[in-house]
Amino acid sequence: MARLELKQVKKAFGPVEVIHGIDLAIDHGEFVVFVGPSGCGKSTLLRMIAGLEDVTAGEIAIDGQGVNNVPAAERGLAMVFQSYALYPHMSVRQNLSFGLENLKMPKAEIKHRVDEAARMLRLDKLLDRRPGQLSGGQRQRVAIGRAVVREPRIFLFDEPLSNLDAELRVQMRVEIGNLHQRLGNTMIYVTHDQVEAMTMADRIAVLRDGRLEQFGKPLDLYNRPANLFVAGFIGSPRMNFLDGTFEDGAVRLKSGERVAAACQGGKPGQAVKLGVRPEHISLSESGTPDATLSVSLIEQLGGESYLHGTLASGEELSVRLAGQTQVSRGDKVGLSLGTPAARHVFDAASGLVLAPL
């Protein structure tokens, strides 16, 4: 059992504070992804959990035990690095067994574990090679294998797929997912790629500027983003934001259109932003459209189509349509901005969502 708890964890490099007090509780067996733009502190946070960085303030606890002063080696964690950090002068077998030897494990046990991991990760035939003789994907598997043989309480992954090409990345995503299924360990995975986060995570922690913006299940983040940042970060293509003012149960857009929204807690006249995902917008077939789009670019992908353009207010907007479209560049099309439930309303000043009904 490995439960990880962060309590008001802070990190400062000299006078510069980069992590501003993060609270987080990760349950046993969970696959948690830290996601955020570069420089948000997600890697620093992971390295603090690993024990590679000191904790400036607050407490990190594993299974209820504070580990702030426990050296990295003794926390019982294993980490997969972005550059893999394989020892270039050792064979794959030596790479896998180095950590176990350091723990003074009996030789037979080491061999058993290494062979087991090699079989699982399909490294059996590569055991005598050096990292320099392996492909990117093979190196990645060795790096994971090095973590697996340790049988750690928690696996830490620091952007492990960012050095792979797109195809391999999808494949490795599946493999890591399978690994989690099989081992059932707690895993913490850092990435800047929200697709990776959405596809792999049990729960996602969205970080920005050293603060935790939201922590929850992938679909919760998608369906109920807590603020503008999360709303914009999760989902691809990005959510559209339109300026407006709050009216009772609706938002008055700059173009003057009034769009119903299922939310509460706003004050009339309050400046808000209306967020609608491109996939929730459709061409209005009947009645008055919510907005009119001057199409400036069309991307036809065959199975789906994207329209990009500007509204009368000058605001930019993207639309995703299923299938292929007859709309051409320069057309003006009327849009329906989704159902009221798919409309997110945020306070323009604080960026926080107005609670849905």
Binding site: G51, A72, E74, L77, M79, F81, Q82, Y87, N102
Partner: protein, 358 residues
């Protein structure tokens, strides 16, 4: 490959067909410098097996010729053998007994009883190619007139100093380079700066206090007195630090996650990865320590602890007239370095060119 091929190989230009006049100049320069650089050393090699007489006469022939001698039938000194050309043009080998006016008294080989006189001008020395290995064996094994060149002992001392000093230099400097490149601690930059600054302070100007320090530690006339003061070379620390800075920190972190101690990280990760820099330093150190002269000269005054360089310089001082021994011993002294150079030439020149340090 014939001589012509060799010359063509050495003088070919790349790609272009005909030789430009500047190419001729280039090769003239190269050949001239080949003579100045290599000829003295080659000539010494060749001369080291020549007889004392050939050396005194500056015999210009490449091979070591010696005049043939036969034992005297009367039991005196060995007699020199000459080729006597008779008036009819035929020749006969004769042994020289003694002079008489412009003539020489000789006898035909095998017939010592019939001594006859011939004009000296009709005699030419009967010579054979005979490398005089005694030049090497006599000073090293037996004793010469004045002194023994105890080659094996000097060689052992030099080897001990070189190997020990190089091993210690590598370890001590690698540790310091590791600390200065991979840890953050107070005073680190100041320390790195101090070490670089000492590159500018010539060791030669602290001879006296260094001698007193070594003397007060009881290391005079001990090989350790030569070894220890030389192992913390700023060049080495600098070289290794610069190289270790290029080893990614993530490797160290991976090792820390792998429960390796800092020492183990140093020994099992850093040292193997710094091998290129270590080998450059090793080559430099071997060269420095093997060729060292001044510091051993001061610390070592008893011949049992002499290094090869000290032995050779003392030998030179005492045996200036016995060039045949001196040349042979010089060859012995430069042979190890030459062998190292022949086998590691590429490493050495590219290593030194890349670091710019000697």
């Amino acid at each position: 490959m014939g001589t012509g091929d060799v010359i063509r190989f050495l003088t070919r230009t790349r790609g272009r067909g005909r030789l430009h006049w500047s190419d001729w100049l280039t090769y003239a320069y190269l050949i001239l410098s080949l003579l100045v650089v290599v000829l003295p050393i080659m000539w010494m090699f060749l001369s080291s097996v020549k007889s004392p007489a050939a050396l005194v006469e500056n015999d210009p022939r490449i091979l070591p010729y010696t005049q043939l001698t036969v034992p005297s039938p009367t039991g005196g000194r060995d007699q020199n053998v000459f080729v006597h050309t008779r008036t009819d043009g035929s020749t006969v080998d004769v042994a020289f007994v003694g002079p008489r006016g412009v003539n020489a008294r000789v006898y035909e080989l095998g017939k010592p009883d019939t001594v006859f006189e011939v004009p000296r001008t009709s005699l030419a020395r009967k010579e054979v190619v005979d490398p005089r290995w005694e030049n090497y064996t006599e000073p090293t094994l037996g004793s010469t007139q004045s002194r023994t060149f105890n080659f094996l002992r000097y060689f052992w001392n030099s080897t001990f100093v070189t190997v020990m000093a190089t091993l210690l230099t590598l370890i001590v400097n690698a540790m310091a380079g590791f600390a200065l490149s991979k840890y953050k601690f107070r005073g680190r930059d100041a320390m790195a700066l101090t070490i670089v600054a000492t590159l500018l302070i010539p060791p030669t100007v602290i001879l006296v206090p260094l001698f007193m320090t070594v003397s007060s530690l009881g290391m005079l006339n001990s090989l350790w007195g030569v070894i220890i003061p030389t192992i913390a070379t700023p060049t080495g620390v600098f070289l290794l630090r610069q190289y270790m800075l290029t080893i990614p920190d993530e490797l160290l972190e991976a090792a820390r996650m792998d429960a390796a101690s800092e020492w183990k990280i140093f020994w099992r990760i850093i040292l193997p990865l710094a091998l290129p820099a270590l080998s450059v330093l090793a080559i430099l150190s071997v060269m420095w320590r093997w060729n060292d002269f001044m510091w051993p000269l001061i610390v070592l005054t008893q011949s049992e602890v002499f290094t090869l360089q000290l032995g050779l310089s003392t030998f030179k001082g005492e045996l200036n007239d016995n060039m045949h021994y001196l040349l042979a011993m010089t060859v012995l002294t430069l042979l190890p370095v030459t062998l190292v150079f022949v086998f590691l030439q590429k490493h050495i020149t590219s290593g030194i060119a890349n670091t710019g340090l000697k």
